[in-house]
């Protein structure tokens, strides 16, 4: 992959219950209402509505890339400061490995149809399960991806 050399900008991820991220990053992909949007340094001022999807923060200074499933919200870009406001966000970071594996396994079970009946009753969110599996892939949890359906 070609490394981006445009420089860093500040990224802040906020939810009503926590400040989940405050760092300097090289690139950002947000799940906008009309599709994914990439943001680099010197992006024009922007206000965009976000939807349920994966927020990808890449080339973070002094730490690995970060991924979050966010439940909709807003992104505001001003003078190389990107603020993401989300209703709620979920990440594998800081979670015990067993719990991560459990979440991924459950999501995979939903996707292969094992939880079909529960899904029909509206207890399991298929879209969310798909995002969990995708985030596991992005975060490099390859072992968890071994059983992922194509």
């Amino acid at each position: 992959m070609v490394e981006l050399t445009h420089g860093l900008f500040r990224v802040i991820l906020l939810t009503p219950k926590a400040k989940l991220l405050d760092c300097r990053a090289g690139s950002l992909v947000v799940p906008a209402h009309d599709g994914q949007r990439g943001i680099l340094r010197n992006h024009c001022p922007m206000l965009a509505k976000l939807t349920l999807g994966i927020l990808e923060v890449r080339q973070i200074l002094d730490r690995p890339d970060a991924f979050y499933i966010i439940e909709g919200g807003f992104v505001r870009v001003t003078e190389n400061h990107v603020t993401v406001l989300a209703y709620d966000a979920m990440t594998f970071e800081g979670m015990p490995a067993e719990r991560v594996q459990q979440i991924i396994s459950e999501a995979q079970a939903v996707l292969v149809g094992k939880e079909y009946i529960r899904t029909q009753r509206g207890q399991v969110d298929v879209r969310r399960s798909r995002l969990i599996v995708r985030m596991a892939h992005l975060a490099g949890l390859e072992t968890a991806m071994a059983e992922t359906p194509s």
């Binding site: 906020l14 009503p16 926590a18 001022p45 965009a48 509505k49 003078e79 400061h81």
Partner: protein, 298 residues
Amino acid sequence: MAHARQILARRRAAQNISKVTGTMETISAVRYRQYYHQWAEGLAFYDALAQMAYLMFTAEKPMDHPLMRPPTSKTQALLVIGSDRGLCGAYNNDLFRLLDTHLKMAKKFGRTLQIYVKGRKVLGFLDHLKIKPAKVYTEFAEVPTAAQANEIGDFFLKEYLEGRIGRLGIVYNRFYSPASQKAQTLTVLPVADLIDDLTTRSTIIWPWEQNFEDFLLSPSGEEIFQTLSEMIVRTSILGCFIEAAASEHLARVVTMRNASDNADEMIAELTKEYNRARQGQITTELLDIVSGMNAMKS
């Protein structure tokens, strides 16, 4: 003076009370720290939300949206957030006083009040006044999840937009800081009042040079405003629940600490009294023995 055994029984009772209040203090202290952390971490979110609202309000072309228009209905919805349990000092009484004021005002100005309740203590108070609440929230313990808060917010937004309610207020104990909490009514709808409150308490209003017109908007300004208003209402409701929970647990920590201190004081007093009674009993017994021996000698 009471008998030593009676004093011992009273001391045991005081010790048991001290244990219970001490445990309750510890539990509430843990929960308070958890909610305080959420409140403190959430401040940046509400600041950012206030900045976005400020940005939209300072647009050259003012926003014309149903949520900004004056209310048409004379019905007022009140969401009262109280506690399920007591032993938290004046926490609930302050809310009841405020609720009483709302009831009197509604009666005076001919408004209809719809009361939505969280907390068994509030329900008890309404039962006492023979008022039937419009809804009681029992699906969550203290603070709703983001999805549940969204559901509550959406319900009130729909009621407002369809003209069934003209105003929504949340009566709760606001957590200003660990040193200051106060019962108050936060006006959530019309949304302009809420934005006014948000921007007033925000630490930084707008630190950037750009105006609203400089921004690339996706989707249109009206849709962004609609979504932003929804977010402000939904997250403010969640924020109120978090603040109420933090205030409740802090009130309980303070009350239980005072109760523990009082119980400890009482235990110390009873110990002194018991020692005096025991000493008196020993002296009496010794005197009995000595006088008995003297009687035998003579």
